[in-house]
Symmetry: C2
Subunit: 452 residues, 2 copies
């Protein structure tokens, strides 16, 4: 089961596919985990991948379908009739995965597929899940769970758990409900095993249970499960009725996705991208921010041309244009990313924006002083431009002000976006760099023109 894709393995597989050696291929695939089959399919051509995929059946086939990337899945399902999708794939999936896959289908096909699901309870659960916002607890929960009544004893519970868990991969927790399906608590399998069979579970179940409201944001759900080290989280509606459960594997995906999103934003990439994506896709997610950077560069050109007297006043000011721009950008990205990371990890929102800015001002003053002093010493000693003290003082004064401006701006913008319920990560990366670049230049030019 310890599996790594090697070039030799893939070549061997390609040979088998070309030779149509179904028997040998089936034997190879039988040893593989669905996640590995999906990985292999990604390095094969679409045609080869299809041939492989049609050799697996039942729940392995539906698991592989869930593991391949969304684009391939979409293409593959587009070619299949609704009946096949429903009966060969959806039937084998948990309700949350089924709802995700159906949610990716075109509108007209959704209803058709649901109509073909033979198990009416399953169809009903999927329909309900589809009604919740994708980014809410309802949108990521599964309807499948194991629940026992608070009035039962251990023996009755064990029997019921055995019955209910037939369609569930893993149990993790057993939830305790009242006659009205309201969540009352949680029961560990460990206790069920440890206590005598006649024990009433009301004596052994844990009444404090951490749950999520059905419309909670998925990031909130992830933070809660992470904070309390939970493997599954029950989801309730506003009346406390148990509606489903969210499992940790979904949360791991959310944490990974949110982290990737923030990383992409700070890097100036506007969407999910893999180096293996098509040249067109990679270009598409890269151009938007570069175009904004281009506009920023043009504005920079206007700032310099509009303040040409500065360059005439102090010859060789141009030498330090890159330094001012780079430092403005670097400082701004640092400030904004510290704020964004703290928000993303659920850091306490306890202090006011004013207090956070005051703190940032402290850091900025030290940093600005150190940098301005170093560049002053450098300029006074080396005097690259031959422009003497005017240039040296202009560069250092500008750098000092620019660093402080960039720090405060980089801290302020994401905090404000967060207050406005806009993703603060939007303010990181190229946005901060470009804005600070222009502002930095303006400060440098104005100081060069008037101060020394």
């Amino acid at each position: 089961m310890q599996f790594e894709i090697t070039r030799e393995y893939i070549d061997y597989l390609k040979d088998l596919i070309e030779a149509n050696d179904t028997l040998q291929l089936k034997k190879l695939l039988a040893d593989l985990h669905p996640a590995d089959i999906a990985d292999i399919m990604e390095v094969l051509t679409m045609e080869e991948a299809k041939k492989i995929y049609l050799l697996v059946k039942g729940d392995v086939a539906s698991d592989v379908l869930l593991e391949i990337n969304e684009e391939d899945r979409r293409k593959f399902l587009a070619e299949l009739p609704s009946e096949v999708i429903a009966r060969q794939y959806i039937e084998f999936m948990d309700s949350d995965d089924a709802a995700d896959v159906i949610g990716e289908l075109p509108d007209e096909k959704r209803e058709e597929v649901i109509a073909f699901i033979d198990n009416q309870e399953h169809a009903g659960e999927i329909t309900e899940l589809l009604s919740y916002d994708e980014d809410s607890a309802g949108g990521i929960m599964a309807a499948e769970l194991v629940a026992v009544n608070e009035n039962w004893n251990v023996q009755k519970c064990l029997k019921e758990i055995g019955r209910q868990s037939e369609n569930i991969d893993e149990i993790y927790y057993v939830y305790v409900i009242d006659n009205d399906n309201r969540l009352k608590g949680v029961l560990s399998l460990k206790k069920l095993i440890q206590y005598p069979t006649q024990t009433n579970i009301s004596n052994i179940y844990q009444k404090d249970v951490i749950s999520s409201l059905i419309d909670a944001d998925r990031e909130e759900v992830a933070q809660k499960m992470e904070k309390y080290d939970l493997v599954a989280l029950p989801v309730v509606d506003y009346s406390g009725h148990l509606k489903g459960r969210i499992t940790i594997d979904d949360v791991v995906d959310i944490i990974r996705e949110e982290a990737e999103k923030d990383y992409q934003l700070v890097s100036g990439i506007t969407g999910d991208v893999e180096p293996s994506d098509s040249v067109f896709n990679v270009t598409k997610v890269r151009l938007p921010w570069l175009l904004i950077g281009l506009v920023g560069g043009i504005m920079g050109a206007f700032v310099i041309s509009g303040n040409e007297e500065a360059l005439e006043h102090i010859p060789n000011m141009a030498y330090f244009i890159p330094l001012i721009g780079a430092m403005a950008g670097n400082v701004g990205v640092q400030s904004s990313s510290i704020v964004v990371q703290s928000i993303a990890s659920g850091g306490s929102n306890f202090h006011s924006i004013g207090r956070k800015l005051l703190k940032e001002l402290g850091v900025a003053l030290i940093v600005a002083f150190v940098l301005a002093a170093l560049i002053l010493i450098f300029n006074l000693i080396f005097d690259i431009g031959g422009s003497g003290r005017s240039l040296a003082f202009t560069v250092s004064t500008s750098l000092f002000i620019v660093v402080i401006f960039a720090s405060l701006f980089g801290t302020f913008i994401p905090l404000v976006l967060d207050k406005l319920k806009i993703d603060p990560a939007l303010a990181t990366g190229p946005f901060i760099t470009t804005t600070n670049d222009i502002m930095g230049l303006l400060i440098y030019m104005v100081i060069g023109q008037f101060l020394f």
Copy 2:
């Protein structure tokens, strides 16, 4: 249990602490999860936090200790005698958490604390865990697990599981071993409940079990558990002996930490930092990259002064210095971050570096062409500098070359670092920006001087 820290709550708590109202405080704390107590302690002063902390006991106290940040834990433990650390905290912890906490102590105190642990088995396990590399599977696993012999039946297993699980929070999986403690498979609690008590477990346990070698890298462990949706992963030595298990909550922390580390590197921050850290700490993680940026800026100044003829040849070339620098930086950060993200998510390392660069060249050619064409049109129409076609052609030609260089360089460096087993994320952010800035300037100046 649904808990949020409000300013009112904290104020109330501070009043109780000042009034020394131990009874009321204990009552409040009894309702809280250890993770919430730790959160509260972080917004209190050190003195207040200590008063709160000394009111909780036993496993709650040890859980809180694990949840507070490392700095506070270190300070707190530094004041306690080794005996108290061992008997009041370590005794209540799982072996992996205990090893982490002891690992944070100064060398001379470690042995003392271990000597004071009364449970010899626990002490032995901790000592063994301390011997593994922190970043390896052995360094993050816990010795506590539930294992049954392959020759037992369901009844015997249930009894043994009940006994073994007394010191374990959650079971998740039951591992099956042979007489020599070699891992043979895994058994789900679900099956134990479903099958008759006399069933021999060799008929029902799953023989394919995904495990990790004890010296595997922790990132590899995280990728494996994520890929196969595992809640716990058994760890074996090279002879297949079962040594411990890694649980998903540790992996969630690793995924979060690795993502944060990559995010920090691309943002130019050299360590873990929270906006709530001291001004000194925040400054410390920000200055290193800013100093390198400063050196980069100075090198930029040398590049311009060394190619002064360009500025004399085409007046107003200075106008577009910020544009060239910014675009070089933006493109480079995009390229490097796409590579780093793909490596971090365990993306297939299937294609050679040469092939990846060729692909990147495709993207770069399109991007470079679009950007160069747009700025050419702009310059020909507006002619800001009044320098006419020379400036327009110089800017566009330079931008074209700079974008291609920055793309390839941004892709190449992290790929090479990864091959050399150095963290590729080191190549993102300020490193790429600074290098590309200077190279971009050089290209711009040389072209301005000689080409048009």
